[in-house]
C-alpha cells in the first residue's frame, strides 16, 4: 500500500506553486504593460513638446526669412545631454533649422507627414505647419525609453525575488496553523482502539472539524455500546449455557456412580462423555465470541506471571495431566504487560491444552517465561510439517498428530486474541532445542 501524502505537503506544493507561478507570470506582464504605458507617456510628451515649440520656431524662421542656409539655434546653455532633438524642414525636405545636438541620421527616412515614425534608434513625431510648407520633426531616442522600461521592470522583479520566498514562508505558517486542529484530532482518533473507546470530546475545534469530532464521538459511543452488549451477552451466555450442562453432567455422574455394572451404566458413561464434549465445545464457542467482541487490549498494565501460575496450576491439578506440566519461570518474577488478563488467560489455556492434547502421553509440556518477555509452550511429540503449521491457526483445522483431536478452535482463538493484544505468535516444529515436538511462542511488546 502506498503511503498517503500529507495534507501540509500537498497544500504547500499547490499553493506555493500557484503563488510562484502567479509572481512569475505577473511580473513580465506588468513589465510589458508598463512599457506600453511608458511609450504612451513618452509619445504624449513628444507631441506636447512639438506643439509648444511650433510657434517659437515659426516666428524665428519668419524673422530670418531671406537666408537660404540652414541655421542652428545658438548654444546658450552649457553642454548637456539632450533627450529631445528637433529640426524644421521645408516641403522638399531641406533642413531649415536643426536643434542643438540634432543629427541628420536621427531623422533618416522619417516622412514629411503628420504623425509618429520610428527608426532604429529614435521615435520621431512630425507636425505639419503653414499649410504643409514647413514640418517640425522632434525625435526621442529609443534608448531613453528602453532604459526607463528596464528600470521599471527591475523595480518589479527585485521585490519579487524577496517576496516569493517570504510568501512561501507565510503560506507554510498559515497552513500549519490552520491544519493544527486536524493534527490534534488525528492524534486523538488514532489513540482510540479496542482498549480505548472514550469520547474525543474536544472543545474549541473549528466548525468544519467540530462536526467530524461529534460524528466520531457518536460512532464511538455506538461501538462501545455494541461491544459492551456483545461482551455482556458472551458472559451471560457462559452462565446460561454452562449451568444446565453442569447440572446434566453432575446428575449423569451421580447416575454412573449409583448404577450397577451393566449396559445401563455403560450408556450413562456414554452420555457423560457426550456432555463433557458438549461442555468443551461450548467453552470454545464462548471464547470465540469473546475474542470477536474485541477483548485483548487493556488500558493499564498487569503482571502476567500470577495468571500464568494460576492457569498452569489449574491444568496441573487435573488427574490426566498429573506430572505432565512443567512451569519454568527462569528468574522472571514479573512480566508487566498492557493486555486484558481474561484474553491472555484464554490464549494460555488454549495453547497449553493444545500442547497437552497433541503431546506424547507421559511426556511433559513445558510453559516457560523468559527474561526477554517471551512465553513459550512446548511439548514432545511428532513434528508438524511446515505447510500444516501455516494452516493450524485457521478455524476447524485439526492437527493430524493424534486421534484425540481438539475442537479445531483453540489455536485460531489464541491467534485472534494475540493479534488483538498487539502481540505476536510464533509456531515452531520441532520445538527449539529439540528434534521433535511443537512450540508456541508468545511475544507481547511492552
Amino acid at each position: 500500500m502506498t503511503k498517503s501524502a500529507s495534507m501540509t505537503r500537498r497544500l504547500m506544493l499547490w499553493l506555493g506553486g500557484a503563488t510562484l507561478l502567479f509572481w512569475v507570470c505577473a511580473a513580465p506582464i506588468g513589465a510589458l504593460v508598463m512599457r506600453e504605458e511608458f511609450d504612451e507617456v513618452f509619445d504624449s510628451a513628444l507631441q506636447r513638446n512639438a506643439q509648444r515649440l511650433m510657434p517659437l520656431v515659426i516666428d524665428d524662421l519668419f524673422q530670418r526669412a531671406h537666408s537660404h542656409d540652414p541655421r542652428r539655434i545658438g548654444n546658450l546653455a552649457p553642454e548637456h545631454k539632450e533627450y529631445f532633438t528637433y529640426q524644421v524642414r521645408d516641403r522638399v525636405g531641406r533642413v531649415l533649422l536643426p536643434s542643438h545636438g540634432a543629427l541628420a541620421q536621427s531623422f533618416d527616412d522619417a516622412p514629411l507627414r503628420h504623425g509618429f515614425w520610428e527608426t532604429a534608434t529614435h521615435c520621431i513625431y512630425t507636425e505639419e505647419v503653414v499649410s504643409g510648407t514647413l514640418f517640425l520633426q522632434i525625435a526621442d531616442p529609443l534608448d531613453h525609453r528602453r532604459e526607463a522600461a528596464m528600470e521599471g521592470a527591475l523595480s518589479l522583479f527585485v521585490p519579487i525575488l524577496l517576496l516569493a520566498p517570504l510568501s512561501m514562508a507565510v503560506i507554510w505558517v498559515v497552513i500549519r496553523r490552520s491544519l493544527a486542529p486536524i493534527e490534534v484530532l488525528r492524534q486523538e482518533i488514532g489513540a482510540r482502539d479496542g482498549g480505548n473507546l472514550s469520547p474525543i470530546g474536544m472543545i474549541g475545534l473549528p466548525v468544519e472539524l467540530d462536526t467530524i469530532a461529534a460524528s466520531v464521538d457518536r460512532l464511538l459511543e455506538r461501538l462501545r455500546t455494541a461491544l459492551d452488549a456483545e461482551r455482556e451477552f458472551a458472559a451471560n451466555s457462559a452462565h446460561e449455557l454452562r449451568t444446565p450442562i453442569a447440572g446434566a453432567l453432575a446428575q449423569t455422574q451421580r447416575l454412573v456412580a449409583e448404577l450397577p455394572q451393566g449396559a445401563a451404566k455403560a450408556r450413562a458413561r456414554g452420555i457423560e462423555t457426550s456432555l463433557s464434549s458438549l461442555a468443551h465445545l461450548v467453552e470454545k464457542l464462548l471464547q470465540l465470541a469473546r475474542a470477536e467482541s474485541g477483548i485483548g487490549i487493556a488500558d493499564h498494565a498487569i503482571d502476567l506471571v500470577p495468571t500464568i501460575r494460576l492457569v498452569v496450576d489449574d491444568f496441573g491439578r487435573k488427574p490426566e495431566n498429573a506430572g505432565r506440566l512443567i512451569l519454568d519461570i527462569d528468574g522472571c518474577a514479573t512480566l508487566i504487560r498492557k493486555v486484558d488478563v481474561d484474553a491472555f488467560a484464554i490464549v494460555l489455556r488454549n495453547l497449553i491444552e493444545n500442547a497437552l492434547i497433541h503431546g506424547l502421553p507421559d511426556t511433559p509440556t513445558t510453559v516457560s517465561v523468559r527474561i526477554d518477555g517471551t512465553i513459550a509452550i512446548a511439548n514432545a511429540g511428532p513434528g508438524v510439517p511446515i505447510p500444516e503449521l501455516q494452516e493450524v491457526t485457521k478455524r476447524f483445522r485439526r492437527g493430524a498428530t493424534t486421534i484425540a483431536a481438539g475442537s479445531g478452535l483453540g489455536l485460531p482463538i489464541a491467534a485472534m486474541l494475540i493479534q488483538r493484544m498487539g502481540a505476536s505468535l510464533e509456531l515452531a516444529s520441532p520445538a527449539r532445542g529439540r528434534e521433535d515436538g511443537f512450540e508456541a511462542i508468545i511475544r507481547i511488546s511492552r
Binding site: 458472559a235 457462559a238 452462565h239 454452562r242 449451568t243 444446565p244 450442562i245 453442569a246 447440572g247 446434566a248 453432567l249 453432575a250 446428575q251 455422574q253 451421580r254 456412580a257 456432555l275 463433557s276 461442555a279 467453552e283 464462548l286 500470577p306 495468571t307 494460576l310 492457569v311 491439578r317 487435573k318 488427574p319 488478563v341 481474561d342 491472555f344 488467560a345
Partner: protein, 219 residues
C-alpha cells in the same frame, strides 16, 4: 465434615449434595444467600461450596462478609463464570479454591480434600495406627492388610475424629458431621455409629471420654 453448599441450580445442587454425602460429608444445601446466612448462624461448617450467581446476590459479597467477620471457614467457589479476572477477584476476596462449571464430581472431591488438608484438618494424608491404615483422600481403611468397608456415616464419624487425631471430639461435633439440616437425628445415633466403627477398625482405636466425647487413639 459438615459442608454448606450454596447453589441455586437444582440439578447441580442435588448432585453435589449426594456426591458429598456419599463421600461421608454432611451437606446443608442453601439455595439463596439469606438461607445460607441463617444456616451459618446456627451451625459450624468445615467447608463452604459457594456459587457466585445467586438469586439474592453475588457470592463474592457473601465471601467478603465472611472474611470481614473473621470467619476462616474454607470456601470453594463453584461458578459458571470462567474469566480469570473473576477467579482472581474470588481468590482475593478470600476463596481457597475455584472450580468452573461444568466440573467433574471426582475433581470436586479432590479439591475438597486438598482444601481440608491445607487447613490442617488432616495433618497427614495417610494415617498408620498399628495394623490400621487410613487414606482419607481415597476414603480407604485397611486393617491387617484387608480393606475395611465403611458406610458414608461411619466414614463421617471417623473423618471427624481424624481432624484432630488424639484430641477429644465432642458428641455434638460428631452429630454435626453426621447430619445435615432436615435429617432425622436419633438420640443414640453417635453411639450406634461409634460402636459399628469400633467393630470394623478395632475397639481400642476409639476411646470414650465420659461426659465429653470421643478421641482417636493414636498411641
Amino acid at each position: 465434615m459438615r459442608i454448606l453448599l450454596i447453589e441455586d441450580d437444582k440439578a447441580i445442587g442435588s448432585a453435589v449434595r449426594e456426591h458429598a454425602a456419599a463421600g461421608g460429608h454432611a451437606v446443608d444445601w442453601a439455595r439463596t444467600l439469606s438461607t445460607a446466612r441463617d444456616y451459618a448462624a446456627v451451625a459450624p461448617y468445615g467447608l463452604v461450596l459457594l456459587d457466585l450467581h445467586l438469586p439474592d446476590g453475588n457470592g463474592i459479597d457473601y465471601l467478603r462478609e465472611m472474611r470481614d467477620r473473621l470467619d476462616a471457614t474454607p470456601v470453594i467457589i463453584l461458578t459458571a463464570r470462567d474469566q480469570i479476572s473473576v477467579r482472581i477477584e474470588g481468590l482475593n476476596a478470600g476463596a481457597d479454591d475455584y472450580l468452573v462449571k461444568p466440573f467433574d464430581l471426582g475433581e470436586l472431591s479432590a479439591r475438597i480434600h486438598a482444601v481440608a488438608r491445607r487447613y490442617g484438618l488432616r495433618p497427614e494424608p495417610i494415617f498408620s495406627l498399628g495394623t490400621l491404615t487410613i487414606v482419607p483422600a481415597e476414603r480407604r481403611v485397611d486393617r491387617d492388610g484387608q480393606t475395611v468397608d465403611l458406610t458414608a456415616r461411619e466414614w463421617a464419624v471417623l473423618d471427624s475424629l481424624l481432624r484432630r487425631p488424639g484430641a477429644i471430639v465432642s458428641k455434638t461435633q460428631i452429630e454435626d458431621a453426621l447430619y445435615s439440616f432436615g435429617s432425622e437425628i436419633a438420640s443414640n445415633a453417635v453411639e450406634v455409629y461409634v460402636s459399628r466403627l469400633r467393630k470394623k477398625i478395632g475397639a481400642d482405636r476409639i476411646a470414650t471420654v465420659r461426659g465429653v466425647g470421643y478421641r482417636l487413639a493414636v498411641t
